[in-house]
Amino acid sequence: MSIDQNTAAKVAKLARIKVEDDALPALADEFNTILGFIEQLNEVDVEGVEPMTSVTPQRLKRREDVVNDGNQQPKVLSNAPDAREGFFAVPKVME
């Protein structure tokens, strides 16, 4: 599988990272180097092998479905780059 500049641009878009057009060829090259390395996995016979979902055989813990936290608005907002009137502020999302 070889990645061209268009694919690199598409991946950057999906990842929400702005990449300038002139940086795309180098980025595509890096992707191809890494993916070339990953291609080795095709040598492995994985027929009938389950994909790992949990490295330890433990069942995930459950807790009672109750409210056990909250009322921390100032703390939640304290690190926001732009917080106003008790909310996170962002650029206009809809016209």
């Binding site: 991946v11 929400r16 990272i17 433990q58 926001a80």
Partner: protein, 495 residues
């Protein structure tokens, strides 16, 4: 008493108990060492006032007879741990100015145990790197040098600041985290001890996430005994991390008898790599002989899927990272790009993440995005998870056959120079983790023990891999290896 900063945890603890020193004296000694070590760039956020406050409280607590093991002991905390009210940036620009309103469970456990935080330690950005060269703070520098050559060397990564600080005696010990080798490789590069416990031993809550199915915290220390003391203080069940194990934490230090008679130590043939330096081969053979002389039985074993661990890791870890790092959107914390008129929310995300993430992090997030994207999910991500199942089974088969621990080199070389890998392709840097990454994929405990010096006078480490949840037994084998290797070298002070 002078040079209190050069003590290990166990020695300092014992002196405190005998009333021969105080936490305030220990802490002051470390703070002085830190201030004189700017050239190492290990401590990136210093917290001297907080440290003195906690040291005084620890001295009060030590007057009673129920002070916990780490009471009064000054340590460094990797920048990946969220520490309440103290900058926690994960070595990234995108978290510039972030001061958490909460404390990670591991660092809280250490506070509860009386430990004194001296400050936050340098690291590769989001723990992605093997040389501490991807940090927004600039490189951490190893206190070690090649003979009289004054070229700066890497302390390893991603826990490079932790390794440098412990090796240079800026603190008694430090926390690290390990996703593919980020505790064990820097420990090996700096002549220190580092253990990554079984996945689930340490809570991940409040530790900035890189690859959640692989990340584990652990101690980086000056001796195996210190690692036992500090690991016990760090780990334990936590309801805030659903993957944290609800198992009792043993007294690891009490398990250090040094007696390994009859233990079966496996030597995996697949770890004998082409082009491995003769010095590493020799170190491994020496370590094997030491364990044999201590009464262990040496057996040749096979871990047939070893070769596929790194490629599987470089699918799984970036995939999880791309998901975990989606939260850095410029809305809730950290950096937000300055926007131009007309920019909407998508431009805000894209510019913020382009400015906030460094090159290596961007690359991994995009690789992760690619392997998870429609059409490639099965070919890459699911295949890598299948291979991971096989890698874990390799270890299970060996342990089922009676092997107690596995001995391998910790790294394929000694520390390299900062900047020496700049022109190499990314895969060359990834090869640093070739001996350690299998352990993360299988969720096992692994420890790096300093075992010798290369011809240039740089430390080399050996890795022991243990059975799940048997850190105590693993630490004991490491303790026997440490005693036999008798590693006492320290870097000459140039900083």
């Amino acid at each position: 008493m002078t040079d209190l900063n050069k003590l290990g945890l166990a020695e300092a603890r014992d002196l405190l108990r005998k009333g021969e020193t105080t936490s305030v004296e220990l802490t002051q000694s470390c703070l002085t060492a830190i201030d004189a070590a700017g050239a190492l760039n290990a401590f990136v956020h210093k917290t001297p006032e907080l440290a003195m406050e906690r040291a005084k409280a620890a001295d009060e607590r030590l007057k009673g007879d129920d002070a916990p093991a780490m009471c009064g002991l000054p340590i460094g905390i990797k920048d990946l741990f969220c520490t309440k009210g103290v900058d926690s940036q994960a070595g990234s620009r995108i978290l510039e100015g972030f001061k958490p309103e909460y404390e990670s469970t591991v660092s809280q456990n250490l506070i509860d145990n009386g430990a004194v935080m001296l400050g936050k330690l340098n690291m590769d950005e989001f723990a992605m790197g093997s040389s501490n060269e991807t940090s927004v703070y600039g490189n951490a520098v190893s206190p070690w040098r090649r003979g009289n050559d004054d070229a700066e060397l890497t302390p390893g990564g991603s826990s490079g600041g932790s390794a440098s600080a412990v090796a240079a005696d800026l603190c008694l010990a430090a926390t690290g985290t390990d996703t593919g080798g980020s505790i064990r490789q820097p420990a090996a590069f700096t002549g220190t001890v580092g253990i990554k416990p079984t996945y689930g031993r340490c809570s991940r809550w409040g530790v900035v996430a890189f690859a959640s199915s692989l990340d584990q915290a652990g101690p980086m220390t000056k001796s195996v005994r210190d690692a036992a003391i500090m690991l016990e203080a760090m780990c334990g069940h936590d309801v805030k991390d659903s993957t944290s194990a609800d198992l009792a934490v043993p007294n690891f230090e009490a398990m250090l008898t040094g007696d390994i008679k009859g233990k079966k130590i496996g030597i995996p043939k697949e770890y004998r790599m082409d082009g491995m330096p003769g010095e590493i081969e020799q170190l491994w053979a020496d370590g094997t002989a030491m364990l044999k002389a201590a009464g262990a039985e040496i057996v040749d074993i096979s871990l047939p899927h070893t070769k596929y661990a790194l490629p599987a890791y470089y699918v799984i870890a970036p995939a999880e990272a791309s998901s975990n790092l989606a939260r850095y959107d410029g809305v809730r914390y950290g950096h937000r790009a300055t926007l131009e008129a007309g920019d909407g929310i998508t431009e805000m995300y894209e510019k913020t993440r382009a400015e906030g993430f460094g090159h290596e992090v961007q690359r991994r997030v995009m690789i992760g995005t690619y392997v998870l994207s429609a059409g490639f999910y099965d070919a890459y991500y699911n295949r890598a998870r299948r291979v991971r199942t096989l890698i874990k089974k390799d270890f299970e088969d060996v342990f089922a056959a009676g092997v107690d621990a596995i001995l391998t080199p910790a790294t394929p070389s000694a520390a390299f120079g900062l900047g020496e890998m700049t022109d190499a392709d990314p895969v060359q840097m990834y090869l640093n983790d070739v001996f350690t990454v299998t352990v993360n994929l299988a969720g096992l405990p692994g420890i790096s023990v300093p075992a010798g010096l290369d011809a240039q006078g740089l430390p080399l480490g050996l890795q022991l891999i243990g059975k799940p949840w048997e850190e105590g037994d693993l630490l004991n084998t490491a303790y026997a290896l440490e005693a036999a290797a008798g590693f006492v070298a320290k870097p000459g002070k140039w900083w």
